[in-house]
């Protein structure tokens, strides 16, 4: 007995008082119920016990339903369902078993002769160049203005816009919408104060408070000079630390990337088609061969914070994922240098030399969806990407086929909810750079970004990601069908789920996501308490 008392005292020290009493209640419940049940069964002729068991059974049936409803509610609400933001680490968020879905080829098809993507074909590269001309970072006089027309733009975007006049017009329209959004920001400054501050806190790693690229050293730093020099800086070993095998190298690098904060990690040989042609960070414009030491890409994904992900566009931001990806990439770049290998980060917001979604497809993280972005089995469309290119000999991951192509053919929810109709509603994907895949109309997409009352400096939308049926949290209700659907060759599961999705869930209409007078500043979900300014601050609610 004294030993028992000693153990109880030790237990009291180890756990909270509440936890200790709850344990005691649990033990009493456990013993009491078993005594009741087994005595009842053993003495089944005893009418009293039969009555107790009958009433107990009925009460138990009711409690069972109440208990399972409570468990369901908690599963829906709890942060453990926020993959990538839960209390796990060490890769626990990458829980989908991809082995059965490995394919030798990615799910995009080669439809005709493929080619490298030109630098100016990325809208972000074009915007970056135009912004730099209109608002030079050194504060000098503007070198271009919209009234000068596309003819006055420097190459290569001059030729691009002359050949794609509709894209030029849409870009100018987006600029004027951005100006309008900026002017109307004071109307929304109180309502969206928290998300605006949160966005800037996350963007602080690459942007100043007024939305300009941070002039101070970035983390990771932007390349200066040719990749043959820059990517090798910081290597202090005479020769690389030798891995035991390519399998060890691959597993180790993935493990380390997870510990740096990545939710999903994959490794692939870099397909040169995904490297932009016409510009190279650190060197400038011009045609370059893909550097020979960019043999492999370690590509990784993190999700946006899930509460704000569902309240896009106004209460959401891209900067949280951007910030985390930059830190992960910077750490990995240094880590690989320390091992004696060259490495280069390709990171948000637009500091990439390669196009990310197809690289992630090659690395088996997921498939490209109708909205043109990566859809993964764990995160759905809530997966933002970065990568580090290196020459460590590693075992590569295979692409996967979890049926996203077929699912997107049926679904179209993202296309129906896009306020500017930037996402194709056609059943079949088109051909882009020689590859069969869906491609969004990027200028139309950017028009939504610049229309919504998101933040005083940042633009964004992300509605297509939030409404994707695959972008659901990791709880039993959503993870179970996401596990079953890829294993169903008949397509019945996906059709049933899509029917349920359309019958049970209500989305705002596409235009409602826009600000008045066109829309209502709608969000897919109601904003959580922690993003509501009126909940925490003494401001007058006028919305």
């Amino acid at each position: 007995m004294p030993n028992l008392i000693k153990k109880w005292i030790r237990l009291k020290r180890r756990y909270t008082v509440r936890g200790k009493y709850l344990m005691a209640v649990g033990i009493v419940l456990f013993v009491g119920f078993f005594m009741l049940v087994f005595r009842g069964v053993a003495f089944a002729d005893d009418e009293t016990y039969r009555s107790i068991l009958k009433i107990g059974g009925l009460v138990g049936a009711l409690l069972g339903i109440v208990g399972i409803a409570v468990a369901g509610y908690v599963a829906g609400k709890h942060y453990d369902s926020h993959t990538g933001w839960e209390r796990y680490t060490h890769g626990a968020g990458m829980f989908f078993n991809r082995k059965s879905f490995h394919k030798d080829k990615p799910t995009y098809e080669v439809a005709e002769k493929t080619r490298r993507v030109n630098w100016e074909e990325s809208i972000f590269n074009r915007l970056q160049m135009m912004m730099g001309l209109m608002m030079p970072p050194d504060g000098s006089e503007p070198k271009w203005a919209p009234d000068k027309g596309p003819e006055a733009l420097p190459e290569p975007i001059r030729t691009f816009f002359l050949e794609n006049r509709d894209k030029y017009d849409l870009t100018l329209e987006a600029f004027s919408l951005a100006q309008k959004q900026h002017e109307e920001w004071p109307k929304y400054a109180d309502r969206y104060a928290i998300i605006d501050a949160w966005t800037n806190a996350m963007g602080g790693s690459f942007e100043t408070w007024d939305g300009k690229l941070n002039p101070d050293p970035l983390y990771p730093p932007e390349p200066v000079g040719p990749p043959e020099e820059w990517d090798f800086r910081g290597i202090h070993r005479d020769k690389p630390l030798p891995f035991k095998s390519t399998t060890h190298a691959s597993a180790f690098i993935k493990k380390i990337t997870h510990t740096f904060g990545a939710t999903l990690v994959g490794i692939t040989k870099l397909n040169p088609d995904w490297c932009y042609q016409g510009s190279l960070r650190g060197v400038g414009k011009g045609n370059y061969e893909v550097p020979s030491h960019w043999k492999y890409a370690v590509v990784f994904a993190v999700p946006h914070e899930w509460d704000m992900f569902y309240v896009n566009p106004t209460y959401g931001t891209s900067y949280d994922a951007y910030s985390y990806l930059r830190v992960i990439a910077a750490r990995l770049e240094v880590f690989i240098h320390e091992l004696g290998h060259p490495a280069r980060s390709h990171v948000p917001p637009f500091l990439y030399d390669i196009m990310m979604p197809p690289v992630a497809v090659d690395a088996g993280l997921g498939e490209q969806g109708r909205m043109g972005l990566l859809v993964t089995p764990e995160l759905g469309g809530n997966a933002r990407l970065a990568c580090v290119t290196t020459n460590i000999p590693m075992e590569v991951d295979k692409p996967i086929d979890i049926g996203i192509q077929e699912f997107c053919r049926k679904c179209k929810i993202c296309a129906e909810r896009c306020p500017t109709g930037a996402i194709s509603r056609r059943k079949e994907p088109g051909v882009v750079y020689g590859y069969k895949r869906w491609k969004i109309r990027d200028e139309l997409c950017y028009k939504t970004w610049t229309s919504v009352a998101a933040s005083k400096v940042s633009h964004g939308c992300r509605i297509c990601l939030a409404v994707c049926p695959y972008s659901r949290k990791n709880n039993w209700l959503h993870t179970f069908p996401r596990t079953i659907d890829p294993r169903d060759p008949t397509g019945i599961v996906s059709s049933t789920l899509l029917w349920m999705q359309n019958a049970f869930f209500t989305y705002p209409k596409a235009r409602d996501f826009l600000p008045p007078p066109t829309g209502k500043n709608a969000t897919y979900h109601e904003p959580p308490d922690w993003l509501r300014t009126e909940k925490w601050f003494d401001v007058r609610k006028t919305w």
Partner: protein, 95 residues
């Protein structure tokens, strides 16, 4: 959240296990008293029906926890109608 605390979570599922034990013991006595001729497959159907009922509530309340303001009761309504209809059929079968 309390239910997900390190100590309470296992206790909750232990309590649920106890409740299910009580349900099974009670169901056996109910069947005897009502004079039902239960076979193993009838018990299996009853268990499946109870699982379906539990699924309806668990699914609906999961959606409620996710702040799906309309989906949760649509889900519950749809599944309850099916469960009640199947329950009537099952009752007629075991009688």
């Amino acid at each position: 959240m309390v239910l997900y605390s390190t100590i309470l979570r296992p206790l909750f599922w232990i309590a649920m296990g106890l409740i299910y034990t009580l349900i099974i013991a009670g169901a056996r006595v109910w069947a005897q008293d009502l004079g039902l001729q239960m076979t193993w497959w009838k018990w299996l159907l009853v268990a499946i029906w109870y699982c379906l009922l539990s699924y309806s509530f668990a699914g609906a309340f999961t959606l409620l926890g996710e702040k799906e303001p309309l989906a949760w009761y649509r889900f519950l309504g749809f599944h309850l109608i099916i469960t009640v209809l199947l329950g009537i059929g099952l009752w007629l079968l075991v009688l």
